[in-house]
Amino acid sequence: MKLDRTSVALLAVGAVLIAVGPVLPKWGVSLLNVSLCYGIVVLGMMLMMRTGLVSFGHGLYYCIGAYAGGLLDHYLKLPDMLLMVAGGALSAAVVATILGFLLAKYRDIFFAMLSLAFSMILYGLLTKSASLGSTDGFNVAAKSIAGVAVNGEGRQFAAYALTVALAAVCALLLNLYLRSHRGRLAEAIRDNELRVEYMGASVRNIVHLHYIMAATFAGIGGAMMSINIGHIDPEMTYWPQSGEFVFIGILSGTGSVFAPMLGALLFETIRSFAYEYSPNTWQMVLGITMLIVIVFLPGGLWSLFRQRRAP
């Protein structure tokens, strides 16, 4: 299989990031960890957005991924990073497959709202489950990667390298998919789903498929986030979290699989600096940033790069 420019660039950036990991400042590593996990989730948002759908409840899968990973540690005592990520991805995919039968019929604001309802139901359930720590959640500690025990600095680097690798691989897979015959149908559905039906493709099946893919990305992002942060709580499926994913998605734009990663990095940076330097008005800083992006960069961050390349 011949790789396109984006794929090659993804692999290169991923390799470089892992290579420079040991010399990066620690807070840079933390920032990248969190941003890339968000980025992986937003890859899914991007696929949905390309298909013309925005979910206000995508935190559902982010949370499911994290809890699935966490439960592997908590109950099965299998705190292996790869297992946790796989468990997160699988649980999210299974739930999305079931809910997808319903949601694939929905469009626009109704899709957004039904997703929101599902995510809030999970929030309610987790709030009631005292054995999972209710709203306080519980701590997660991954202790090995692919069966190799890690701790201390080694653990940090392993988590970082895995985060970068997952981000690169997820982005690469999505990129390949988007360039495939079926992947191209995403935009066609957003443009005119009636025509897609009348060209012989099942819009519902494709939406369902994309929904499962988006959920799987969110599950991976959530599981990886739980490994990086070491703590999970129901806040992950509360509506402002999903709102944040939508925001990063729109901030990034759907132009390239690089966009969610850059968008998430920029968002995390702004948020973190606003928390520290403007602790009383950080919400205002975020709100104004959102408005600026929406008004001046309607195509998202990625449109900057695109315009530059175009003649």
Binding site: L24, P25, K26, W27, G28, S30, L31, V34, T127, K128, A130, G133, S134, T135, D136, G137, F138, N139, A141, Q156, M225, I229, G230, H231, I232, D233, E235, M236, Y238, Q241, L262, L265, L266, E268, T269, R271, S272, Y275, E276, P279, N280, W282, Q283, L297, L301, L304, F305, Q307, R308
Partner: protein, 451 residues
């Protein structure tokens, strides 16, 4: 257009590069003691807890830096280094707080972190503090899980955990109203509210197995409208209503329940009600059992440290008395200060035989570098120090978790001001589980003193 684009790309690139660029090398000579201070500055907990905590922290730091602390806290700052605060909002949940904690440690290069009111945040931060080897003092979160589920070297909590609230409340209730039968409650539907009710329910069942427990109302956090809950409580016709509501939820509940005569027959217990006494005259019925999550605020026995804190806080807040978050903050700063200074003294004590040099304090300041984190931890463990509400003993969690006595009292309206009467104090040992026993097990075992 393309110029704008270029500018925007350049700006973006600058942001990214500046973010990823290595931090400037740390100053060789330490001139300040930087403390990251994390508390709620937005959201519902900001008003009752977060902002009072911040005001207290600022007032305490100003006073300590000026060397105006009460005995034995007259040394300037911490070990003579002036304290510098980096304040961060606690909003956003555990995930965000871990990120913020990391950047406090790794980007802001703080020397210690004091903070956290939310129990979820405390649980989330503790292992990260451990990983980053950052001395962290948890201020006001109540969950016993922090040190019951794990043990930490770098994490301390200088206030007692919440189990004693429920245990003492039950003891006080049964001392004063031994005949109560029908028990119910209204608690917020989140971890603290659920734990409060569960502990209370378990304690009652242990001491009075014949009491009839009617399930507790669990309104959503921040619900605001309690009409149906109040009707349900009225219909249940209880003898006792237990509540750990706080902040806007407590006030809304009282405003709506009091005019509907909910408390005419039922005995009300407000576990966390003390900070609202001055705000709700006429709205808290006479005879309400009130707690302050420790012998804080109005319960604190008079002492120079209490007077010092009260005066400082009044100056900052425009005349208000410090509430229990302010007391918790004072504990944290004084505990940390004591630990570092004791470590310094220990070093000096072992370096210079006592009595060999005059003016040990000056000698110490001149000759020795401030204590480092590891040394401070060694002296923080099992430390006993004076707080504004009396002695604080770091007795649980392998010397990392404070135990304190607590108190409950009964309200009475006098000339438009709510006063507390019939105050009873409970020793720490009586209301706190021993080391190594989980709170709920301890309650269910009938408060056994040993493992």
């Amino acid at each position: 257009m393309s110029r704008i684009t270029h500018a925007a790309v350049a700006a973006l690139a600058t942001v990214v590069v500046s973010v990823l660029a290595p931090a400037p090398a740390q100053a060789v000579q330490k001139t300040t003691f930087r403390i990251g201070f994390v508390t709620f500055l937005s959201g519902p907990a900001a008003g009752p807890f977060g902002v009072p905590a911040k005001l207290a922290a600022e007032a305490i730091v100003e006073s300590l830096n000026a060397g105006k602390g009460p005995a034995p806290y007259q040394v300037k700052g911490i070990g003579s280094l002036p304290i510098e605060l980096v304040v961060v909002d606690e909003a956003g949940g555990g995930t965000k707080q871990v990120s913020e904690f990391r950047s406090l440690v790794e980007r802001q290069n703080v020397d210690a972190v004091i903070g956290y009111i939310g129990s979820g945040d405390c649980l989330a931060i503790a292992p990260v503090a451990e990983e980053l080897k950052m001395l962290t003092v948890l201020v006001d979160c109540g969950t016993p899980r922090v040190f019951e589920e794990a043990s930490y070297k770098y994490v301390f909590r200088t206030r007692a955990h919440a189990t004693m609230d429920a245990v003492a409340a039950t003891l006080y209730l049964l001392d004063n109203r031994p005949a109560v039968k029908r028990i119910t409650g209204i608690n917020q539907n989140y971890a603290y509210g659920q734990d409060s009710w569960n502990d209370f329910e378990a304690t009652i069942k242990t001491i009075r197995p014949d009491a009839e427990i009617i399930s507790s109302q669990m309104p959503k956090f921040g619900a605001g409208q309690y009409g149906a809950e109040i009707s349900a409580l009225l219909s249940a016709n209880p003898d006792v209503i237990h509540s750990s509501l706080w902040g806007g939820d407590l006030e809304a509940f009282m405003l709506q329940a009091q005019p509907r005569d909910l408390f005419k027959r039922a005995q009300l217990i407000l576990v966390a009600g003390e900070p609202y006494l001055h705000r709700l005259p006429g709205k808290i019925p006479d005879g309400t059992i009130i707690g302050a999550r420790g012998a804080n605020g109005a319960f604190a026995p008079d002492s120079p440290i209490k007077r010092w804190l009260t005066e400082l806080y009044k100056g900052k807040s425009g005349g208000l008395d410090p509430n229990y978050p302010a007391y918790s903050v004072a504990n944290a700063f004084l505990g940390l200060k004591t630990a570092f200074e004791k470590a310094q003294r220990t070093k000096i004590g072992s370096a210079i035989p006592m009595g060999a040099a005059k003016n040990v304090k000056e000698e110490m300041e001149k000759a020795y570098a401030p204590a480092n984190t590891e040394e401070a931890i060694a002296s923080f463990e099992n430390l006993v120090f004076d707080g504004p509400a009396g002695k604080v003993r770091m007795a649980l969690g392998k010397g990392h978790q404070a135990v304190q006595g607590t108190a409950y009292g009964t309200t009475r309206l006098e000339n438009g001001v709510i006063k507390l009467g019939n105050i009873k104090y409970y020793d720490a040992d009586r209301v706190t589980p021993p080391e190594g026993v989980s709170s709920l097990d301890w309650i269910k075992s009938g408060f056994r003193k040993t493992k």
